[in-house]
């Protein structure tokens, strides 16, 4: 039994596959691919696969990972090719490798966000957003399993890039990720809208990188 990590992208229509459904989708792809992996035992055996960092419905990603346990000696390049032949459009495996870190080493994730504000002039909306993201403190209400609580987003958010175009504003955000503190771009945008009285026409989000505690790329 050989643990491997499958790195894949999730784009186009595949972005509408929910976290729950992506599991089933991979289960089936693995069967179609003829890659034999370890199954859970017991009453209702199913392929044992785990996903590192849940991705919100509607987000694209260039850096998703799934861990599984290979049962035979198939070369990793072949695993990758077989999976790619079996996966639906929008899901593409770009690497299969032995895992280096455990998923709980994840600390940050980068998101490219493209948005258009409702009603507002593009320049004006971008200005407001830039101003908001540079505030000293960013109090938000975060919903957790134990109810709602107010936190300051500031230590968990970095604005890496910002550009205002004709209609759309594009930004690259680095947000806290993982088990201890996980900040979703939607939380940032919702609190911006609340604080500045804005409404968004649409938002496109793509996860572009995941970082571990040592500052190295997890995916």
């Amino acid at each position: 039994m050989r643990p491997v990590r499958v790195f894949y992208t999730k784009k186009d229509t595949a972005k509408y596959i929910s976290h729950l459904d992506i599991n089933r989708c991979f289960q089936r792809a693995i069967r179609r691919a003829g890659v034999s992996i370890w199954y859970t035992e017991g009453f209702n055996p199913h392929a044992y696969i785990t996903f590192a960092l849940p991705l919100s419905l509607g987000y694209e990603s260039e850096c998703e990972t799934m861990d599984m346990r290979l049962l035979d000696e198939m070369p990793l390049e072949e695993v990758k090719e077989r999976l790619n032949r079996a996966l639906p459009e929008g899901l593409r495996v770009y690497r299969v490798a032995e895992p280096v870190e455990k998923p709980d080493a994840i600390l940050w994730a980068d998101y490219r966000v493209v948005l258009a504000a409702k009603g507002a002039e593009p320049g004006q909306a971008a200005e407001k957003l830039r101003e908001y993201l540079s505030r000293e403190t960013l109090p938000v209400i975060k919903r957790t399993k134990r109810g709602e609580k107010e936190i300051d987003l500031r230590p968990y958010l970095q604005l890496l890039e910002f550009s205002a175009g004709e209609e759309e504003t594009e930004l690259l955000l680095r947000l806290a990720a993982g088990g201890e503190m996980n900040v979703n771009p939607t939380l940032v945008l919702d609190s911006f809208c609340g604080a500045c009285g804005m409404e968004l026409e649409y938002v496109k989000v793509a996860r572009t990188a995941v970082w571990d505690k040592k500052g190295e790329k997890f995916a």
Partner: protein, 614 residues
Amino acid sequence: MNWKLEVEKILPRVQKPARYAGGELNSVVKDPAGVSLRFAFCFPDLYEVGMSHLGMKILYAQANERPDTWCERVFAPDADMEALMRERGIPLFGLESRDPIREFDLIGFTLQYEMSFTTVLNMLDLAGLPVRSAQRGAAFPLVVAGGPCTCNPEPLADFVDIFVLGEGEEVNPELYDLIIAAKKEGISKGELLRRASLIQGLYVPSLYDVSYKEDGTIAAVTAREGAPARPAKRIIRDMDGVFYPQNFVVPFVEAVHDRAMVEVLRGCIRGCRFCQAGFIYRPFREKSPQVIDRDGRSLCETTGYDEISLSSLSTSDYSRLEELLDKMLPWSEKGSINLSLPSLRIDGFSPKLLEQIAKVRKSGLTFAPEAGTQRMRDVINKNITEEEILSTCRTAFEGGYCAVKLYFMIGLPTETEKDIEGIVDLAQKVVDLFYSLPDRPRGKGVAVTVSLASFVPKPFTPFQYEPQDTEEMLREKQHHMISYVASKSKKIRINYHESKTSHLEAVLARGDRRLCAVVEQAWKNGCRLDGWSEHFDHQRWVDAFAACHVDGGFYANRTRPYDEILPWDHLDYGVTKSFLTRENQKAHCDATTPNCRLQCSGCGANKLLGRACL
């Protein structure tokens, strides 16, 4: 307007957007410039329901096998999606291309149940088309409907251009050819419909005039312009040669039945007198084990499903079931594929079969005795005895089962209080049996669930003449049952479904063309997705009947004489009216009819086959 961009903008805002996004594995995308026919296959219910439906999978794959045709799937949007589509003016689109279906050549609906009728109208409207056939002057898109409800399509006659009667695998391609030729020639809609009416299996309602007597019953149905007096349904004669898909579209969102399915047989030998499927799908035809096994293997390989079901009206009537299971069990077990056998009859279990089944299925057992007393079961021709029910339960309990679900109907013709009590008595006997067994599963109690449905008289059944119990009568019977069960064991649970939709079903199932106005009015009142209790609003239907001055009771609660012209009498489904009348008379004498394997009862369906059935 760029619809595709607009769709992208609203998808993040709706529940389960994958239902509208397309892109599933094995969905078919073609170059629109390279095809002559674009076909929107519409299922008038939500994605999760439609994607469970085998017929749609077959016809979708078959149409797309043709290089000149592109068939796309369309489902009814849920309320949140519909609201956003209407707000932004986004027309109903095909899942594969996201192109508006009003630009297609053919729009085809499948009518699986009466409660989907308003959804058909709503989907036409969402597409941006007039709902009435007469108001769609252009030949295309042509609006067609098939499925079991087309055996009496009259309540939709004003909306649909052509109904497909019977099975589609042969007649659909003929229709595609006709449309492609018609487009080339540029003929009018009228001419296209006339030509269609000459193809067996197609029924063009606008070519038939219906007149009524003073008492409201039908005086005559007259064909015009050369259309046949009695359009007949089509069937497939050679089940081993018929097209079957080698892959299924695999949904991302979980469908109600999300698994591979192989078709084992069509038709039914049983002849239960309440069951429409048992008559309209006649005659009985089987596939051979090799073909079923091959299709099953291929489907599991191309979909990655870990469950496969053997689908038919009554899989235990398959004459070569053990042979089939011997073929399928080795590879399904090896691949951890769960083999499921729905619709098993209680009298179909042999010990070996039960052993084979127990290997693959450990969940609860379900049986459908349908009626509580032997007399009542004789009336409905459900040829099961109490001993058979109990002996099967015994084998099942000894095999480790401890939950049993029993399906019954109330409101059956000639039913008395005794028959109602008989349901509870039978359930109680199952409970008692469990506790009498020394070998029963240890440390466990038994759970017997009685699932009750109201009887709905359907066209092309021996009960097509019967009145349905009024809602009041049904309520009384239900109360009686509940007080009776209270005096018995606590191990019996009763599930009862609302009788309001049953009444509507009874009206629509046996309705005539005067109901078109009611269906349209109900839709205008806001009805859609009526099969879902959270969407169903009875008052809107009540208002629609009132506005159209139509009395639902005339259709649902009236005994129809044998010589009355019924709204579907001019459609030839093989089974003859004289046979149905004979069966009805036998029912009233508590007399049973043997199944087709034991003896042919001369129902007339073999005429479609051109030979004896079995």
